[in-house]
Structures are given as structure tokens and as C-alpha cells.
């Protein structure tokens, strides 16, 4: 009864009900990843007798007597498989979580000659069982076809070139380690019992039967939870979010909210424990619609004190609101030659990162003091803020808590949230044993956060020549059962979307509303995607009313160098045009529109559409980062940063910045990151800050270290400091050359280490620009839409790593196309999420994703490191309105609700009488 895995016989029986993936992971083959548990995502792909299968739906006992190959067994005689090599050369990944699955699928083909000549249709068909959420598939297609993108820049020249990600070799061989890829002896497993009711009071929880289940160690209920209220959202300023959440509450406010936690020796014992918990609920009236939630007499979601909870109007279910204006909008509308008004709706969509939320916690002894320390290794984008939140929750000093983030399998804002660490910490502190919690894919859909659904009414007026006279927004955002990110998303959404236009009269009335539904949270673009869809659609329509080219209307009104950035209610004054490439972006889009038409199927309607967007490079009210650089004995450098890597590529960029400033090559800089034990503080990997904030800290640390090294050389080797300079591997001074190894030894002998630190406060802030253009074909009979061409222009300032930056754009466009065309978290009338699997929640596949042409403006920013701006959230923002504008151009129908599924398009065409 043995299974042959990677040429070795594995003994040990398979357990009843165990799938091959779990069997392999339990034997240390951690490159076999768990993404969906349902045969949807392909991250667990292995070969059985040479044929690729999803190991999560392959019963383990069926592997007995068969030959199994995993990503770890693909290399031959120490040489990587050609497919692994190609994924490395093309950098066919971002977070890398899906990569072993893609590599195994590709390696199952006859790849002696690679897939260079394989027709696109064939590639799309072959890879429909593998989902990627980061790349937009272009980098993967290039890898499959053997295209080389990764460069090896010379010393001191890395900024502006495309060296590969340091994690790359681990990612393609399956040795990269994500949050739960850790073997902890004696690990206990937690499962959460979740509420079946949208609103209920927990009257009693009988735990006796659960505690009698063999293997169950601990049951946690609201009686065990600290009374403190907090927000699951993580921000530098705690005051940004309402304190409305309790670790385990005696009131549940959405279907799927945690009610109790069961900790047991095995996952199945914990599951059985959850089934045996007897909860008595008093079911309370619930409201699941944001309009209904603000009607008089609606059930109150959070009956809390507005001052201590920071909820704007708790009795009215309003968590935050904005009522502000500049100029006189009514007068502006009266002076307009054309006015357009419509109401736009965006739905709930989800990050769907391939790695779900998870954490492992344990107790250890602080190596410095010997004091007991709580260690949490979790899938967070903000380890330092998580530590701060845990300290506040459990009354612990910072030096008694360490939070570590390994590689993250995608984030997109979903992990700027404390959804697992709090309850794991409580279980560790209670049981004093290591405890693990991993969300299932269904939990990810029902109990992690979503993008805020927005309803936006835009009223826009302009004169005959296109000059805007008034821009008015009425906005209702649905924050769900909790207010995490509710205020921030609302304010940000109503910020850059209108600040982008010079218009003397602007007015915004906006509110974020509680409902008894799954909480909304942070997601790429942070409200801008929703409001920009409305504003850019409305301006397109306004131009049509004035018989103006929609781009001409924009050009007439877009901000220009020297303009103030004005959004009603914006009280921050540190936002500047640090660089300006918007004009270049518009030129790219205009050129695309005047290119010859791509062929469309006969009878299909063809149209073009564009949209523009602006985003601040850094969130307001402070985003902090520390970096530390140290010379090592071998003359290489260790760089410590606080920010986390989730495929956004900051590790690569930080290495490039440090290597360039130090005049060396990237391979001589090793990055250590996302560990509260490493540096003083880091706000986190969110708000598109990895390059512009953490990168700025790295640059400062590197420049400081150059000074330190020159000082040291002058001191220890009696050189003229003024004539010393740092080259690759040595300090040189006239004819003298001090190798860095020697310098380190001299410093060590003198009792010092050669280290420097850098700090960044994230202010002042600049803005990035993006423009997108589509040509689409619409089948008037079925509502199907095909993208004929997709073009994106971005002003990212200095592009530190063109390969990675292009990948951010391609991935952002693909993710936005999902929200535009097919993704929707659906709720039933009770507010329960019904899309609980990836097969029903349709993120784009390889075949759905067009190859987008990406163009970068040639600019440099006054504020960012080496003139760089951020470029990770912003490509998402203009995609939906550009698509809807193209469909409008093709069909004459203005679609106001996303996603544009075939049936919605068909219904729109029918209603219009076509």
C-alpha cells in the first residue's frame, strides 16, 4: 500500500476521505497548493501516471500503486525542468501561488519544443483548469511560449531595468513558502461556527457535546472574548475606522459571522465539534438593502455610542458621510448647455486571491530577553498594524508580540484586515499550544470582505464647447455589517474621481451605510473604481449630448500642471502634481481610436470607448516605513523592510533601489521583510505604497549607508574622505581600494557594525494617471461581447521595473474586467452569500483575458524615489467605464449596472427595442 511520489515510495496509509493534495502536503510536499478544494483553480495540479489532475478531487487511496509527480519532483539531476526555466525567464508569475499548478499542467504536455507555436485558442483551452488572479495571464502565456523578459543589469544600473523577483526560483520549484507552509509540531486546528442568521442575539451556547468529541481541546465563545471593540480594518490611524467589532460577539449581524471557535487535534475533529455546538438564537429583524437601511424605522445594525464607536449616525445606520461643495452647483447647472444625469450601480465583488486567509500562532521565548512572546504568522498585508491591534486587544506590550508574514498568495486589499489573527491569538493564549486557522474557499466568500457596492448618481453640466460647469455626486455605499474601511473607501472614492476635473462647481453628498450583509472592505482602487465608473460614463454621455468627441470633452476639463486638486470635503493639503503624464496617456488612447478597425464577426456591432483615472500615490494621514541596510562579512548587503510581498513586486524594486544607490548588482542585496522583529515600524503593504513609501525609506537607508561606508573607509584605512567613493564591492580612494569584506572586518574589529536606516512618512503625496481604451464587438442577438483590442496608458513616473510594472497593469486590467463582465457576489433575500465557489464566482480565465497593450508615459515625479510613482491599484480604475463606453458606442445603449453579463446586455438591447 505505497504511493510512489517523485520517484520515492511513500508509506503510511491514506485516511478515509483524504484527498491526494492533503496526503502530499502532510508529507512535506508543500508546493502542492490548496486554492479551492473543488477542482476549480488548478493550484494543486500534480501528475498521476504522467497525466495532470487536480489532486484536491483525487481520493488519496486511488494513488496507491500509481506514480505521482509534484512540482518538487519535476527537476532532473538538479536541473530545472524546461517549463520551470521558462516561467523564471519570462517571470510568468506575481504572487506565485498558482505557479506550481500552471507549471505542472504545462509539463504534462509534450514540451520538448515548448509551446511557442501553439495557437492561442489551443493554449486557452489547455489552461482553463488553472486560475491566476495576479498576472492577467500575459506573463504566463509568454512563459509558455518561451519569451525571455528577465534582465541582469550591471552594477548601479538596476533602476529602470527588469531584474527578476528574488522569490522566483522558489516559486517555480515549489519551495517558496506561504503562510501555512510551515510544519509546527503539536499544531492544533481551529474551525469557526458561523451564524445562519443575518441578525440575531446569541442567548446561549451549549458546548458540552462539542467538548466530548475526541480530539477537541477548546471551545471559545463570546464569553471568552475580550469586551473591547475594534475594527478589523488596518490603518496607520486607528481613528480612520469605527470601533464596532468584537472578537466573538453575542450579537451576529450577517450570515456567516463567527459565533464560536473550536480548537482540536485535527481539522475534522474541529469540524465535528462545530456541528455539536448547540446555539440558541433570538432572531432579530434584519435589513439587507442600503436604501431600506436608512429609511425611518429600519432595524439598527449597531446601536452604539457615536463618540466612542466613531460611527457617524448609529441610529440611522450611517457609518460615515460627506456633504460638501465648492462653488454653486445649481448655478453651474443653470448655465450649462447640456446636462446629463443618471444613476450607476456597482455590485459586490471579491479579491479571490488564490491563497485564502490563514494564520498560525504559537508561544516562544524572546531570544533577547527570554520573556514569553506570542508569535503570529499570518496572511496579512500589514504585520505591524496587526501587532498593534493584537496588543490593544489583549493588553500586551509590543515586545511580547511578533507578527510575521511569509509570502502572500495575493492580497489586493483583502488582507489589509484582521480576520483570523485575533481569534488565533486568543486560542493560543488560552490553550498555550500552537493553533492554525485556514479559511476554506467558501468561508473566503461568505466571511472575508468584498468591494463596497456603490450606487452613484452623477449630474454633470457643460457648455457647448465642452467646458464643465457643474459636477454633482450623490453616493450610497454599502459597508455591510461592519464599518471596516467604510469611511475611507467612501472619501477616497469621492476624491480623485472628481479632483481629476477642473470644474468651478462641485458638490458631493455621500454616505456609507450599514446593512446585515457580509462586510465590505479594502479592494484595489479603494472606492475609486466605483465612482469613476459613474463619472466617466456620465462624461462620455454628456459629450455625446453636446456632439463632442468624448476625449475632447475630457481634454478641455482635465487638470493640468499648476492646477489645484479640488474634491469637495477633502481636508488634506499634501497632494500635489509631482509629475504630469496625463497628456501622454490621452495621446496613446487617441492614437488607438484612430487605428484601423479589427475584424468583427458578421452582424456584430462594433464600438470604441475610453476612460481616464487619477489616484493619489499614497493614502492620506500618514503611511510610515522603516528600512535598515547592513554590510555583511562577505561584502554583500542585508536589507530589512517592514512591508510585505504579495506578488506586487516590492521585494524586487527594493533590491533595485538599494543596489542602484549602492552601486552594486541586485544579487548582492538580500531582502528580509514583513516581520515585526526586523525594523521599527511599517504601516503595511497597501495603498500602493511599496515603491513610493517603503522604497523611499530604502533609498534613504542606502544613501545613508554609502556615507557610513565612506566614513568607515576613511577612518579605518586613513583615507581622504572627500576623495572616497563607493564602487561595486569596494570603496576606492585615488589609488587605494578597500574591499567591502575588509571594511566589514575592520569595523568588526573596532566593535561596530556598518548599518544605516531610512525612514519615510508618506507625505507629501503625488498622483498617478491611467487611461484605458477598448474596441469591442457585441452580438445583438445574444448579448455576447468580444474585446477586439485593449490599450492601457499609465503615468507611473520613473518605471523602476518595466516588466513588473507592466504586470501590475495587466493584472489590474484583468481583475477589473472580471468585475466589469462576470464577477458578482450574490446574496439571497436573507443576505446570505450564494456564490461560495470559484466555479460560480467567475474570475477571468486565460481565455477571457485579452492581451492588453501597455504604454508608459515618459515622466519623472518630484516626490517619489528615483522619480517613481505608484502603479498597483490604479490600472483597475478606468477599465469598467472604458468598457461600458465602448459597448455604448457599439449598441447605443448606456449600461449603468455592472457586471455586463450577456443576459444584462441582451435585456438592455431588448428594452431599447433593437
Amino acid at each position: 500500500m505505497t504511493v510512489e511520489v517523485n520517484g520515492r515510495s511513500l508509506d503510511g496509509p491514506t485516511r478515509p476521505g483524504q484527498c491526494l493534495r492533503t496526503y502530499l502536503r502532510e508529507r512535506g510536499l508543500l508546493g502542492v497548493r490548496k486554492g479551492c478544494d473543488a477542482g476549480d483553480c488548478g493550484a494543486c495540479t500534480v501528475h498521476v501516471d504522467g497525466v495532470p489532475v487536480h489532486s484536491c478531487v483525487f481520493p488519496a487511496f486511488r494513488a496507491v500503486g500509481r506514480r505521482v509527480t509534484t512540482i518538487e519532483g519535476l527537476a532532473r539531476d538538479g536541473h530545472p525542468h524546461p517549463v520551470q526555466r521558462r516561467f523564471l525567464d519570462a517571470q510568468g508569475f506575481q504572487c506565485g501561488f498558482c505557479t506550481p499548478g500552471f507549471v505542472m499542467t504545462a509539463a504534462g504536455l509534450d514540451t520538448a519544443a515548448g509551446l511557442a507555436g501553439t495557437p492561442p485558442e489551443e493554449l486557452r483551452r489547455l489552461f482553463k483548469g488553472n486560475l491566476c488572479r495576479c498576472t492577467g495571464y500575459r506573463a504566463i502565456e509568454d512563459a509558455l511560449r518561451g519569451v525571455r523578459h528577465v534582465e541582469h543589469p550591471q552594477a548601479g544600473t538596476a533602476v529602470g531595468r527588469s531584474p527578476g523577483a528574488p522569490a522566483g526560483p522558489g516559486i517555480v520549484t515549489g519551495t517558496a513558502r506561504y503562510t501555512l507552509d510551515l510544519d509546527v509540531p503539536g499544531l492544533l486546528h481551529m474551525k469557526l461556527l458561523r451564524s445562519p442568521h443575518a441578525h440575531a442575539r446569541v442567548l446561549a451556547i451549549d458546548t458540552h457535546e462539542a467538548l466530548r468529541v475526541p480530539g477537541v481541546r477548546l471551545v471559545l465563545t463570546h464569553k471568552d472574548a475580550p469586551p473591547r471593540l475594534y475594527s478589523s480594518a488596518l490603518h496607520e490611524s486607528v481613528d480612520d475606522d469605527p470601533a464596532d467589532t468584537r472578537l466573538l460577539d453575542d450579537v451576529v449581524r450577517h450570515v456567516g459571522q463567527r459565533v464560536a471557535a473550536v480548537v482540536a487535534d485535527t481539522v475534522s475533529a474541529a469540524e465535528e465539534g462545530c456541528r455539536r455546538l448547540a446555539v440558541t438564537y433570538e432572531v432579530l429583524p434584519a435589513v439587507t438593502d442600503p436604501e431600506a437601511a436608512t429609511a425611518p424605522g429600519a432595524p439598527v445594525v449597531h446601536d452604539k455610542d457615536p463618540v466612542t464607536s466613531r460611527i457617524a449616525r448609529p441610529r440611522d445606520n450611517v457609518v460615515a458621510e460627506l456633504h460638501a461643495g465648492v462653488g454653486d452647483v445649481d448655478a453651474g447647472l443653470r448655465s450649462a448647455d447640456a446636462v446629463y444625469e443618471n444613476t450607476f450601480h456597482t455590485r459586490r465583488v471579491q479579491h479571490a486571491s488564490l491563497e485564502t486567509h490563514g494564520a498560525i500562532g504559537w508561544l516562544d521565548a524572546d531570544p533577547a530577553t527570554g520573556a514569553e512572546r506570542l508569535v503570529i504568522r499570518s496572511s496579512t498585508q500589514a504585520p505591524f498594524l496587526t501587532r498593534r491591534a493584537l496588543c490593544a486587544l489583549f493588553d500586551l506590550p509590543p515586545d511580547r508580540v511578533r507578527v510575521v508574514t511569509a509570502l502572500l498568495g495575493g492580497g489586493f486589499g483583502g488582507k489589509q484586515e484582521m480576520l483570523v489573527e485575533d481569534v488565533v491569538a486568543l486560542a493560543v493564549l488560552r490553550s498555550r499550544a500552537p493553533v492554525s486557522l485556514e479559511f476554506t474557499r467558501a468561508e473566503q466568500f461568505t466571511a472575508a470582505t468584498t468591494r463596497h457596492p456603490f450606487t452613484v448618481t452623477v449630474t454633470a453640466g457643460a457648455r457647448h464647447d465642452g467646458t464643465l460647469t457643474a459636477l454633482k455626486l450623490h453616493v450610497v455605499a454599502d459597508t455591510g455589517a461592519y464599518g471596516n474601511h467604510g469611511p475611507g473607501v467612501l472619501l477616497h472614492g469621492c476624491g480623485e474621481s472628481v479632483a481629476l476635473y477642473r470644474c468651478p462647481n462641485k458638490r458631493t453628498d455621500a454616505r456609507s451605510v450599514y446593512t446585515h450583509t457580509v462586510p465590505s472592505g479594502a479592494f484595489r482602487g479603494y472606492g475609486l473604481g466605483q465612482v469613476t465608473f459613474a463619472v466617466e460614463s456620465a462624461l462620455d454621455e454628456l459629450a455625446r449630448r453636446l456632439r463632442l468627441d468624448p476625449l475632447t470633452l475630457r481634454e478641455r476639463n482635465l487638470i493640468r500642471p499648476g492646477d489645484d486638486l479640488v474634491a469637495p470635503g477633502d481636508t488634506e493639503h499634501d497632494l500635489h502634481l509631482g509629475g504630469y503624464g496625463l497628456d501622454q496617456c490621452l495621446r496613446v488612447v487617441r492614437a488607438a481610436g484612430s487605428s484601423p478597425a479589427e475584424p468583427a464577426p458578421p452582424g456584430w456591432l462594433v464600438g470604441d470607448g475610453a476612460a481616464v483615472a487619477m489616484i493619489a500615490t499614497i493614502p492620506p494621514r500618514g503611511h510610515l516605513a522603516d528600512a535598515a541596510l547592513t554590510l555583511l562579512p562577505d561584502g554583500t548587503f542585508a536589507l530589512a523592510v517592514g512591508t510585505a510581498e504579495f506578488g506586487n513586486g516590492t521585494t524586487t524594486v527594493h533590491r533595485q533601489i538599494a543596489a542602484t544607490a549602492l552601486g552594486t548588482t541586485v544579487d548582492r542585496v538580500t531582502v528580509h521583510q514583513s516581520d515585526t522583529a526586523l525594523v521599527g515600524h511599517d504601516t503595511g503593504a497597501f495603498g500602493s505604497t511599496g515603491t513610493v513609501v517603503a522604497g523611499a525609506a530604502v533609498l534613504r537607508a542606502a544613501r545613508a549607508l554609502v556615507d557610513t561606508l565612506l566614513d568607515a573607509a576613511a577612518t579605518f584605512h586613513a583615507l581622504d574622505r572627500a576623495r572616497c567613493r563607493l564602487t561595486d564591492g569596494a570603496v576606492v580612494c585615488a589609488g587605494d581600494r578597500v574591499p567591502l569584506e575588509g571594511l566589514h572586518a575592520a569595523a568588526l574589529a573596532a566593535g561596530t557594525s556598518l548599518t544605516a536606516t531610512g525612514h519615510s512618512r508618506g507625505t507629501p503625496r503625488s498622483v498617478s494617471f491611467n487611461a484605458h481604451w477598448f474596441r469591442v464587438a457585441v452580438n445583438p442577438d445574444t448579448g455576447e461581447i468580444r474585446i477586439l483590442r485593449s490599450v492601457h496608458a499609465a503615468d507611473a513616473g520613473t518605471v523602476v521595473n518595466p516588466l513588473q510594472c507592466r504586470g501590475q497593469v495587466e493584472g489590474g486590467v484583468a481583475q477589473a474586467l472580471g468585475a466589469t463582465r462576470s464577477e458578482e457576489i450574490r446574496l439571497d433575500p436573507t443576505g446570505a452569500v450564494t456564490t461560495t465557489a470559484l466555479r460560480g464566482y467567475r474570475i477571468p480565465t486565460f481565455a477571457d483575458t485579452p492581451r492588453t497593450e501597455v504604454h508608459f508615459a515618459v515622466t519623472t515625479d518630484d516626490l517619489g524615489p528615483f522619480g517613481a510613482k505608484s502603479m498597483s491599484e490604479s490600472p483597475f480604475v478606468p477599465v469598467a467605464p472604458a468598457f461600458a463606453n465602448a459597448v455604448r458606442d457599439a449598441t447605443g445603449v448606456r449600461f449603468t449596472t455592472l457586471p455586463l453579463t450577456p443576459d444584462r446586455v441582451w435585456s438592455g438591447l431588448r428594452d431599447q427595442g433593437r
Binding site: P16, G17, C19, D37, A38, G39, D40, G42, T45, V51, P52, V53, H54, V57, F58, P59, F61, R62, T105, G108, R124, R125, L126, F127, K128, G129, N130, P196, S268, N779, D781, T782, G783, E784, R821, S822, R826, D828, P829, A832, T834, T835, T836, A837, R839, G840, R842, P844, T845, F846, A847, D848, T901, P902, D903, W906, S907, R910
Partner: protein, 330 residues
């Protein structure tokens, strides 16, 4: 997952005897659908009888010129088989339109026919569903309906059959070979799947313990042209909103024979007999195809949320038939 017993069948008799002996036993073949359902708690059999190692792996010619496909033949092997690709291209196309490569490497011919509906309410044990829990109600009637039936539904169930493969098999007049405690029998594929009626729990006419051993495909005239078209929400890896399998034989501009089945519209692969009757002997022109499609869909009774599928099915059918006629005329 709830614990269950497992038995690996040594031969067909052993499989049938073991499965018949326990009222809630079920067969396990590729497992791509069943393993998922065990995890989701949609089904909890006390005994799984593994039939994956029974000798049903062959594709053999039949004396009348047709083909017998063993129940254990993997979807990937069936789609790649030279005879299938040459003589039954719409079957190969339908197989490739379904699932992913990794899943097709596991999924079997018999198992594909026995797939359960992907109705979101059926798949969610927290919601009422007459198919999963008889008498509990149908959530889709007041819920999300765009993936639901427009033909042959009942007040108890509006689910659709998810298989791509079964749609061309219905058009081809395939026969499902069964063996059970009372011997062997053959059931036409069009009679194998049921309409929901007042017993939506039952997807097929299979008796408890009966096992699919093969699917027989009849010979098609060499002049027949066939195609499979699938309309869905994303370009791959999504179940059909509507699909069409059609085989058309035209001589001298006149339809001599036609076989049509629709997927995604009913509780079973929907053989479009009215459209076929309308078309036989008619001119092979778009107007005839449109009239045929309208005749078939005249009896459609969509829900508000699935109304678009009637037009979508009509246009997809007209488009496929027009394409086949043009292809034949070249």
C-alpha cells in the same frame, strides 16, 4: 465530510451486488463531482462502491457501424479518439467545451451523464431545494434564475442538467447500456434523463444499484455535418447558459435529416423534436432554421430571470444550423 464505507469492486457482479445491498450506496468513478458533493454535504452515502478499475475503458466498433464507448473511458481520451474526432466532431467539441484538462483526465463517460445540476441552491445545503431535500421547496423560484430551465420545468424544480457531453449524445440517439440486479438493458439517452415533475430528486431512470457499462453511438451518414456551440458567461470553464448540438444532412438544398439537442435549458438534454419535424424536407435556408427554432421554443416557459435564454437559444440554434448549411454548400 461524514464518514462512509468504501469498497473497491472486483468485477461487475460484485459492484452491482454490493451497491444493491445498501439503500444509500453510490458508485464512485472519476469522483470529480461526487468528491466535491461529499465535501459540500450535498450527499452523504454510507457506502462508496469504486468502479474505476472495472474493465470499461475501451472504445470499440459496433457491427452496425456505430461505436461503443465504455463507461469508464475518460473524457480526455474520448475527446482525443480518432474515430470520435472524425465521425462525431460535435461530441469531441462538447467534451472539450466542458471542464478543464485536469478534470477531463479523471471524469468518465458514465460519470459525466450522472453529473448533478450546478444550481446554486442545490449546491448549498443551507438553502431549501426539492432535489436535495424533497419537500423543502425550490429557492430558485424566488431567487437567482439566469442559469435555470426554460423548457420542461415543474413547480418543484427548475434546475438544468450541466453536462456538455450529453447534449450531442441526445442529438445522436445514443443508447445507454445498463446492468443491474435484474439484468442488462439499454435506454435511449433521450429517455435516460428525466424531467423533474413532482420527483425532482431523481435525475435519471436508473434503478438503485444499476450501473452504466457503456454508451452506444449509432452510425451517422457520411454527408452529415455536425457542430456544438456553447454560450456562457466567460470564455472558458463555465457551465452553459445555452448550448446547441446539431447534425444536419442536406442534399440539393433540402434538409434530408436533422438532429438537434439543446443544453442549459432543461432538466435533461433537450432533444428539439419540434424543430426537427419542422425542418425535415424544408429548404436549408436561415428562414427555415428560424421557423424551426421558433417552433421548438414556442413552448418555452422561462422565469423572469431566465427569459433571455429563449432568445439566446433561438439565435444560437439559427446560427449553428446556418453555419452547417453554409459549410455543406462549400
Amino acid at each position: 465530510m461524514i464518514p462512509f464505507d468504501y469498497h473497491r469492486a472486483t468485477d461487475v457482479e460484485d459492484a452491482v451486488r454490493t451497491a444493491t445491498s445498501r439503500p444509500d450506496a453510490t458508485y464512485l468513478a472519476g469522483g470529480t463531482n461526487l468528491v466535491d458533493h461529499l465535501r459540500l454535504g450535498i450527499t452523504s452515502p454510507s457506502l462508496l462502491v469504486d468502479v474505476s478499475r472495472l474493465p470499461f475503458d475501451d472504445i470499440d466498433p459496433l457491427p452496425d457501424g456505430g461505436v461503443r464507448v465504455g463507461a469508464g473511458v475518460r473524457n480526455s481520451d474520448l475527446a482525443a479518439h480518432p474515430t470520435i474526432r472524425r465521425d462525431y466532431p460535435m461530441l469531441a467539441a462538447a467534451l472539450l467545451a466542458g471542464a478543464s484538462w485536469q478534470l477531463r483526465n479523471l471524469a468518465t463517460t458514465g460519470g459525466n451523464l450522472l453529473q448533478r445540476t450546478r444550481c446554486a441552491y442545490f449546491q448549498n445545503p443551507a438553502t431549501p431545494c426539492n432535489k436535495r431535500e424533497p419537500g423543502s421547496g425550490c429557492s430558485a423560484l424566488a431567487g437567482w434564475q439566469r442559469h435555470h430551465a426554460i423548457l420542461g420545468a415543474s413547480e418543484h424544480c427548475v434546475a438544468v442538467h450541466p453536462s456538455d457531453m450529453a447534449v450531442p449524445l441526445a442529438a445522436l440517439d445514443a443508447t445507454v447500456r445498463l446492468t443491474g440486479a435484474h439484468g442488462d438493458r439499454g435506454v435511449p439517452l433521450t429517455a435516460f434523463h428525466r424531467l423533474p415533475g413532482d420527483e425532482p430528486r431523481r435525475d435519471t431512470v436508473l434503478e438503485h444499484g444499476e450501473l452504466i457499462t457503456a454508451v452506444d453511438l449509432p452510425r451517422l451518414p457520411p454527408t452529415t455535418r455536425s457542430a456544438y456551440r456553447k454560450v456562457r458567461d466567460r470564455a472558458s470553464y463555465a457551465f452553459a447558459l445555452v448550448s446547441v448540438a446539431a447534425a444536419l444532412t442536406v442534399t440539393d438544398g433540402v434538409v434530408r435529416d436533422v438532429r438537434i439537442a439543446l443544453g442549459g435549458v432543461a432538466h435533461k438534454p433537450w432533444r428539439a423534436t419540434r424543430a426537427e419535424e419542422t425542418l425535415r424536407g424544408a429548404d436549408a435556408r436561415p428562414a427555415s432554421f428560424r421557423a424551426a427554432a421558433e417552433a421548438e421554443l414556442a413552448e418555452a416557459e422561462p422565469l423572469p430571470g431566465s427569459a433571455f435564454k429563449t432568445t439566446m437559444a433561438r439565435e444560437a440554434l439559427v446560427s449553428v444550423l446556418t453555419g452547417l448549411a453554409e459549410e455543406g454548400a462549400r
